[in-house]
């Protein structure tokens, strides 16, 4: 071994965490290499320094606090305690634990199957328009103090432009109809696109395409 020993080798050697043959090889190298011996001694001094640090006695109050909290937990009736006792008891009976795990897995599988059938049925129906995803980002034109928001309502995006939320693609278009949110027509729109309530809740107006017309919905 001609090259110098690595820090990892010296550290493991110091801890006696290397094999017999590697130890012999290292000791042979250390016998002829003053630089590595010096490194080893330096590390040894450090380790002695760390090991000599005094241990700190824990405050007595900890034990008392722990006892009190345990006593409070023990005294507390209810589902949590019973569940803990039940789960703790299962540790004694691996067969019971395995059975319970299999049972849970079975119930979960049934749930997933049921969900997938329901999803299949939903796919056969016309798409619901009121399913929304809301994305939020910061901008300069938002109605203060809220950040500028784009909202996807049944696949449509709305952006805040100056004073109104405009459905993307309708920028620059003049609304053909003005609808108040409280009017029957407005309520029908909100029934169809419930997420619009989020946009008009602060009194903002929303321009969107509704029943082949460009409509402005007013929250106030």
């Amino acid at each position: 071994m001609n090259r110098h020993l690595s820090t990892e080798q010296l550290s493991s050697y110091l801890d006696g965490e290397i094999g017999f043959f590697e130890t012999q090889e290292l000791e042979h190298h250390l016998g002829g290499c003053a630089a590595c011996r010096s490194q080893l001694e330096s590390m040894q001094r450090l380790v002695i320094g760390v090991r000599r640090m005094e241990r700190v006695a824990p405050p007595r109050a900890i034990a008392q606090e722990v006892r009190q909290r345990i006593a409070a937990e023990e005294a507390a009736p209810g589902w949590r305690r019973r569940l803990q006792v039940f789960l703790g008891g299962m540790a004694f009976q691996p067969a019971l634990r395995t059975s319970a795990a299999m049972g849970l897995a079975f119930v979960f599988t049934l749930f997933l199957l049921n969900q997938s059938v329901e999803q299949e049925q939903r796919n056969l129906q016309p798409p619901a328009e009121a399913v929304v995803t809301v994305q939020t980002y910061f901008g300069d034109n938002s109605p203060a103090p809220l950040p500028l928001t784009t909202s996807e309502v049944a696949g449509r995006q709305f952006v805040w432009l100056g004073e109104r939320w405009i459905q993307r693609g309708l920028e620059g278009e003049q609304p053909q109809t003005l609808v108040a949110a409280r009017s029957p027509e407005g309520r029908a729109m909100l029934n169809a696109y419930s997420d619009l309530e989020f946009l008009i809740s602060d009194g903002s107006r929303v321009v969107l395409r509704y029943r082949r017309a460009t409509v402005e919905l007013s929250g106030s």
Binding site: E8, S11, M43, V47, V56, A63, V66
Partner: protein, 193 residues
């Protein structure tokens, strides 16, 4: 591992198994014994990791509550010591990541009514020098990256073997070897500056 060490380990495992069994059977004294055996170890680990006596006291409480809740399901695949250390390390990581990174130097003297265990074999002068040296080392330890600090504390202060540290940290022995070596190297560099 020598014959004496193996027999000590087997003895410890037997004590662990007996304590766990007694706890399962509702013997309240069993948990008290577990607490007495490992309280100092957990508190010192929490203190060295957090650098704050109050935080260490809170962490110790939380760790032992978890130990109490789960002792009945302890499977005995490791020793009780490494199991409790693992709970403590995970809890400290979780709590301290939300609390604050430890960047302040920590002192050997703890103040606030805390007392260090004095070594009766040392004279007063030696103790003073050791305390000063201890403060320097503690300050250096506090500046180590968390992963290295954990490894060095578990090895050099708590005296765990590489295998035990690997179990506690949930990493391979090679990683333990590397973290201890790099931690010591960085600590040495910090103390030299």
């Amino acid at each position: 591992m020598g014959v004496a060490t193996v027999s000590a380990v087997v003895h410890d495992l037997e004590i662990d198994a007996e304590l766990v069994e007694r706890h399962r059977c509702g013997d309240a004294q069993a948990f008290n014994e577990v607490y007495a055996r490992f309280e100092g170890m957990v508190y010192n680990l929490a203190f060295r990791l957090s650098g704050n006596p109050e935080e260490a006291a809170d962490l110790t409480q939380e760790v032992f509550l978890r130990v109490y809740r789960h002792l009945g399901s302890f499977g005995g695949r490791s020793s009780l010591k490494t199991w409790i250390f693992r709970i403590a390390i995970n809890h400290c990581r979780d709590r301290l990541s939300r609390w604050r990174p430890l960047t302040m130097p920590i002192g050997e003297a703890t103040g606030d009514g805390e007392v260090a265990y004095p070594d009766p074999a040392r004279g007063p002068e030696d103790l003073a020098v050791a305390a000063d040296e201890g403060r320097r080392v503690a300050a250096g330890l506090a500046r180590l990256p968390h992963a290295f600090r954990e490894a060095v504390i578990l090895r050099d202060i708590e005296g765990l073997s590489y295998e035990e540290i690997a179990e506690v940290l949930g990493v391979r022995i090679g990683t333990v070897r590397s973290r201890i070596a790099r931690g010591r190297d960085q600590l040495r560099a910090l103390l030299e500056t």
